[in-house]
Assembly symmetry: C2
Homo-oligomer: 169 residues x 2
Amino acid sequence: MDKSKLQEQVKAEFTGYLTMHKHRKTPERFAILEHIYQISGHFDMDTLFNSMKNSNFRVSRATLYNTIELLLDSGLVVKHQFGANVSQYERAYGNENHDHFICLNCREVKEYKNSNLFTPAQQKRFQRFQVSYYSLYIYGICNKCQRAKKAELKKNKNLDNNNLRTKKK
Amino acid sequence: MDKSKLQEQVKAEFTGYLTMHKHRKTPERFAILEHIYQISGHFDMDTLFNSMKNSNFRVSRATLYNTIELLLDSGLVVKHQFGANVSQYERAYGNENHDHFICLNCREVKEYKNSNLFTPAQQKRFQRFQVSYYSLYIYGICNKCQRAKKAELKKNKNLDNNNLRTKKK
DNA sequence: ATGTATGCAAACCATTTGCAATGAC
DNA sequence: GTCATTGCAAATGGTTTGCATACAT
């Protein structure tokens, strides 16, 4: 199965990282890694914490935060902050870079893969900077909210016109 | 002078926005806008708060947060979250979109203008999404830290070799 | 054996919220 | 005169920290 192969690979990658940096190979760390690689999309710390609590392997929040730091540093996880209060995370290995559309109105985040906005060829241009990954956040108004806003503005304009005539409601 | 013209323009822009959305035109709001447009680079809320306190116009933190929300919505200010705890802001009008390089090691943020990674032509491809602005964050290791890391790894490797021979320090 | 990593609870701190007073309309 | 906006102080909540215990090396 593909999935278990991915698990193997990231575990090997993480092991190498831990060895290289002289960090201990604790069961917690590998359990967290494995859990994260079972999640397909974005997740936040609270979700991860509860997900692990409900499984057979409970870890503390402190350990979760400690470990995610290592995973970020090793490049196995990326962090996103879309403007809301909570940080979002996402696995990075076997999950090609993709772009994010964030609606400024309803805060919904949509992904868009393979947009080719930032190709390897383009990355080469920044030679003195060793690129690990990138985040392209495209902010704007989604289709749904565009319609809602138009309706609101129209309503306000009508109110203006009414006020000119009737003054006090 | 160019600067006062910019101030005029953004003030007009903001006035239009406030009128459109039936929000009041308070002196606080315009003072905050003016202050922000005197800052050239990134700033956070604490910096802005202190900067205003030291000037002749003191506003509360609550008002600062309220107003920045309007400025974000009107597109006059953009918000960045580079992975640190505090949000960074930046004026958007007359300050063309530029990309950010964030060093994963030392957290330094460098700007890169006119990289043309996301041209208007490319934006057209996302027709159902009305693009306001975008943020391209490129994470990696800066030149300075690349050298430091190499040195560290070399040191660790040497320690390993020593341990094989001498065991206890 | 040694010292790093974990878990818990408390601390931190940027941001948000409730509410009385102010002032834009 | 009304009601949105301000300022203050308290509350919130995600993240960090301190410290005793556990366990990887």
